[in-house]
Amino acid sequence: MSNQEEVMEGSHAVAHAIKGADPEVIAAYPITPQTHIVEKLSQFVADGELDSEYVKVESEFSAMSSCVGSSATGARTYTATSSQGLLLMNEVLYNASGLRLPIVMGVANRALGAPINIWNDHSDSIGVRDAGWIQLYAETNQEALDMSIQAYEIAENQDVMLPTMVCMDGYILTHTYEPVSIPEREEIQDFLSPYEPEHKLDPENPETFGTVGFPRDYTEFRYQQFDAMDNATDVIKQVFDEYSDKFGREQRGLIEEYRTEDADIVLISLGSIMGVVKETVDSLREEGKKIGAIKVRAFRPSPAQELIEAIKGSDVIAVLDKNVSIGKKGALFTELKDELYSSDVNPLAKNFIVGLGGRDVPEDSVKKIAKKAEKAKEHGRVKKEIEFIDLKEVYDND
């Protein structure tokens, strides 16, 4: 098995992984900062290295519509997008999931307008969290490319059959060169089960996809999706384990704990921010602080049960969200807190909104967050539940 690492751009690493997964159809529309992924894939097709039907479309709406069509015929399908592109797909995203089509989509996370902004946050994918797609989030380019392969094995599992987004931070991962190890095509093919859906569009054996769901049946369709997402929890764990064993990785579970054993304070987030979060934990540990971190790999299905288990015994949790629901709070925070209500785990909980529209999150900002969490612990209560970090002074009423 090849475990040779090479330095490569994140987008290209994902394109190589997808090439190995050998999708029969790719339908995509370019948008910054995702473009390099599909550009590379289209080059593979043009050079004859990848035998896919590459469909050039005139919008993201058409891209996802083509994906729905191709996936319904039983073809393994891929697309990728960002930001406004993902929003333009919104209507079709629900169809892809409702039709139970295991499409895999790369999302290069980018902020939403207005004001127009091409830089990273999670507003786009979090904004479509209810569309019935599995959502995986990568911390590194290695994880992004591995997840792009794992996504097919998860999505196409007969107990799941749900489309899957592999989310990677725009620019911060997509445009960064770093060492990655890309499995050989044969190894990827060997890892992935062949895609043989129980139902597909086939002229020899006609079936109907997308009929009306009358009030008599509609609820059951939704219940089945809900149930399938529930099944995805175990399937994801199993696929992550099998992949880690086969390719020598340690990417297991819906979450990853970092120095949480005896931690009073736990920082929780998802995506590429976890690198600096872990570094901050290390430097605060050196100062004798009992602090740890948890990385969330899967946002859908919900990682809440695993999170609750992991934060047992901690005094304060600080959830860092790169998104905010206007009028409410960050998504990871609200969802985790919701689950805590009916559990016997009851730490103080604070939500920090960070890194919107590409604002950098250096170690100093994470230290600031840790300090605020510490203060909550000292006072035994949370004064302000949600705080925007590094706000310009004129707005910071701290």
Partner: protein, 179 residues
């Protein structure tokens, strides 16, 4: 960990230089990362690119604020961009200019070397594309990355005559800096 910032203008290959630097360092057995200043680049406009080198796996992905090394590809940037920003006192700045270091308009505690990288590029490539010359100079001045790894990487990226000539540019620039 060592952090590097490259200043250039759109079209001068700053991003390519950062990428080649990371690739070469990795070949030498270091961990490496390279990324552009995420912006809307236009030809001729000031641009920045970054690299990190380390013995350990690199987890940090925030921007670079206190570089150990700064490479300045275009002397016309000196009046418009704060090229010294955050440079560490024991750091090193490498400037592409025909002037000697005493007459360069930079005030810094860090070490400073100048090299006429454009002249080397014009001489060997026949074009004022000086990013590879500055990489050679970086290798010579810092020893962080070997010339051989850089030469292999540039020839991998630009196969044939162009790669060969750039490898020659690197060697020449390294020699100039070491003299």
């Amino acid at each position: 960990m060592r952090e590097i910032r490259i200043h250039g203008r759109g079209g001068q290959g700053s991003v390519t230089a950062a990428e080649l630097l990371a690739e070469s360092a990795f070949e030498d057995g270091l961990q490496a990362q390279a990324f552009p200043a995420f912006g809307v680049e236009r030809r001729g406009a000031p641009v920045k690119a970054f690299a990190r080198l380390s013995e350990e796996k690199i987890r940090r992905r925030s921007q670079i604020y206190t570089p150990n090394y700064v490479i300045i590809q275009d002397p016309t940037l000196l009046g418009t961009v704060d090229v010294t920003e955050g440079i560490q006192d024991d750091g090193l700045m490498i400037v592409n200019t025909s002037e000697d270091k005493e007459s360069v308009d930079i005030e810094t505690q860090a070490d400073l070397i100048t090299i006429d990288a454009t002249e080397i590029a014009l001489d060997i490539l026949g074009k004022p594309i000086m990013n590879t010359a500055l990489l050679g100079a970086f290798s010579g001045a810092t020893g962080e990355v070997s010339l051989e790894a850089m030469q292999r990487r540039v020839q991998k990226r630009f196969p044939g005559k162009i790669g060969e000539k750039n490898a020659e540019v690197m060697k020449k620039a390294k020699k100039v800096v070491e003299e």
